[in-house]
């Protein structure tokens, strides 16, 4: 039992972290809370499905194309919509939220419901880890998640582009004065977040089905993880994902599977009560700029 909790908790946590990472990266760099995250996620899945099942493309091609399309969509969203609303937090939230709803409900209206919308797993079969049977897809997810994190860390800390990203994240105006175009960086950050989102969709969706309601669920999960971890902190997201991931599995294993979605949210409220800015977030309480 304990070993299974360990293994499945870990997998669950990695899945949560991947889902939340796209949201947190975009917010961390450009301060845009992309509420169309869930919409992009499902759209990424459905594009892959369409290419794979309907057009008969190879898996990697269809997945790659859909990731690129979603990335472009993120950039486009910034270029067309968000650039007019920069700095107006509430308007950004409303605009992205409504775009997300448009995407999701449009898919629903076009007939994305039922049992056929399902991406096959990359590789069938299962292996035993610590004596617990685990499907290979889940192991692929964990590996891909780890790889993604390493790449991300390298990108942010060891490339010029990453430096520009960090610059804009810290002080937009100063970044502007040293020749970084914050609009470009913000656009790229949205593209990057969207790519991350589509990537996680491609990896994770074979475990489930592509359904519109899943899109809303993913958004809520991503938000919960980010809020607990502190919206802009990648480390925080990771830690929060592991906290929620293990709490979910423990709840489901020892208390009641029905409460799996309630307990993490309750934890979130509890954490907010103690630390309003999340575990690793910078304090957002009343204070002066130092």
């Amino acid at each position: 039992m304990l070993l299974s909790v360990l293994v499945y908790g870990f997998i669950n946590s990695v899945i949560l972290a991947m889902v939340a990472l796209g949201f947190s990266i975009t917010f961390g760099i450009s301060r845009v809370a992309n509420f169309s995250h869930g919409g992009f996620y499902i759209l990424g899945g459905i594009f892959t499905w369409y290419g794979l099942i309907k057009l008969g493309m190879p898996y990697f091609l269809s997945a790659g194309l859909s990731i690129i399309i979603i990335g472009a969509l993120g950039a486009l969203m910034y270029k067309v919509i968000l650039i007019r609303l920069r700095g107006l937090e509430l308007s950004e939230v409303i605009a992205t939220l409504s775009l997300g709803i448009v995407i999701l409900e449009l898919l629903r209206g076009l007939g994305v419901f039922g049992y056929e919308f399902r991406n096959p797993v990359f590789m069938d079969g299962s292996v035993d880890i610590l004596g617990v049977g685990v499907g290979i897809q889940r192991i692929i997810i964990v590996c891909a998640g780890a790889l993604l994190l390493i790449l991300l860390h390298f990108f942010v800390h060891h490339t010029k582009m990453g430096l520009a990203f960090r610059g804009v994240a810290q002080q937009e105006h100063t970044a502007l004065s040293v020749g970084i175009n914050p609009d470009l960086v913000s656009m790229l950050s949205l593209a990057m977040g969207s790519v991350m989102c589509a990537l996680s969709a491609v990896l994770i969706l074979p475990l489930g089905v592509i359904s519109v309601d899943e899109g809303y669920d993913i958004l809520i999960k991503a938000l919960a993880v980010c809020i607990i971890g502190g919206l802009e902190s990648t480390l925080g997201v990771l830690v929060a994902a592991f906290i929620i991931g293990y709490i979910e599995v423990l709840t489901s294993m020892y208390i009641s599977s029905a409460l799996t979605s309630v307990v993490p949210l309750a934890c979130m409220l509890g954490i907010l009560l103690v630390r309003p800015s999340g575990i690793f977030g910078k304090s957002k309480e009343i204070e002066e700029r130092v």
């Binding site: 937090e89 605009a95 907010l272």
Partner: protein
């Protein structure tokens, strides 16, 4: 640059010095001021009682949604931009439903009691998040109703997924529509008076600059609690009202649609104006009814409208129309040209 044209906006001559002082010299000018203020009141009154029976129901829902939108706008102008008005609605609905079903209170007691209890519980629910601002607050308010929905679902309290049915109904559609309309006007004028009072200025100040409010010796937490109590109280009334209107209460009272509508109405009508949300609700209520034929695409159209407004006409319809009404616009020659932004 050669000569170009520029648009000049001039207040109509009737308006003098400030927003509050007018020079009236004829019936025409009095009418100019009075008609736009009377039109909605009289218009709604006529509309509510003249439309066919089915549309009366739509009107009732529109009025209730109007109140929800007003409440959202009020809270937003206090700096509390909630994405979860459904929480308040549901708490009010459940309180009233429980009072009616378990305690057997008659409708004229269960609605006020439900409103009050609902508002107290709502405030308690939101209290932990008061340390948050802006988007953080919004995100958390989005999540809380979904969480409570799941709690009701899993624990089965208040009828769980089935809800409670068979609550006392209103005496009739005329009473219902009159009641909802009166409540709407009370809410509207009450909030407007509140915002214009000295006490209400504290709420305005809360959004403009909460640190300065703290530095003025007023606890922002305490005043936010008051703002939430007022705002959620209005939504709780809506919930209590609708519960009795439909004689049942279910988990769907927490539905996201109920959180989106007030925002949409406010954005379309004009945020922070109080008249705007009202206008928005009166447009969107019947509109969403007319769009019902589109099925799922209804929500698409709805959300697209919301997004379009926030990008293209962020000030909203009401300020736009008011400007058109109060100002003369004309193109004038601008010698030497003007620079485009």
């Amino acid at each position: 640059m050669s000569t170009e044209r520029r648009k000049e906006r001039i207040d109509r001559p009737i308006k003098a010095v400030t927003d509050d002082i007018f020079c009236l010299s004829s019936i025409r000018e009095i009418a100019y001021l009075v008609i736009p203020r009377m039109l909605p009141v009289v218009g709604l009154l006529l509309l509510a009682f003249l439309v066919p029976p089915y549309w009366r129901k739509v009107m009732v829902i529109t009025f209730v949604m109007g109140m929800m939108a007003l409440s959202w706008d009020f809270m937003a102008s206090c700096g509390l931009t909630s994405l979860g008005q459904a929480l308040f609605f549901a708490l009010g609905a459940y309180s009233a439903g429980a009072a009616n079903h378990y305690l057997g209170l008659p409708i004229y007691l269960s609605i006020p009691l439900g409103t009050l209890i609902g508002a107290v519980i709502s405030t308690a629910c939101i209290y932990p998040t008061l340390g948050l601002r802006g988007i953080y607050f919004s995100v958390v308010t989005l999540i809380i109703p979904l969480m409570l929905m799941r709690v009701v679902e899993t624990t089965g309290i208040f009828g769980g997924t089935e809800g409670i049915t068979g609550l006392s109904p209103f005496p009739g559609i005329i009473v219902t529509i009159a009641l909802s309309m009166i409540a709407l006007w009370i809410t509207f004028f009450g909030l407007r008076r509140l915002i214009d009072s000295d006490y209400g200025h504290i709420f305005v100040a809360l959004k403009d600059n909460d640190r300065a409010v703290e530095a003025s010796g007023l606890s922002i937490r305490w005043f936010k609690v008051q703002a939430i109590f007022i705002g959620s109280g209005i939504c709780c009334f809506c919930g209590a009202f609708m519960t009795h209107y439909y004689m049942s209460i279910g988990m769907s009272a927490f539905a996201v649609d109920l959180s989106i509508f007030p925002i949409a109405a406010s954005v379309v009508g004009g945020m922070g104006t109080l008249v705007g949300p009202l206008l928005g609700a009166i447009i969107l209520g019947p509109l969403s009814e007319a769009l019902r034929a589109f099925g799922s695409f209804r929500v698409v159209i709805y959300a697209a409208l919301l997004g379009t407004f926030i990008v293209m006409l962020p000030e909203g319809l009401f300020p736009y129309l008011a400007r058109k009404y109060q100002q003369i616009e004309r193109w004038v020659e601008a010698p030497g040209g003007i620079s485009e932004d």
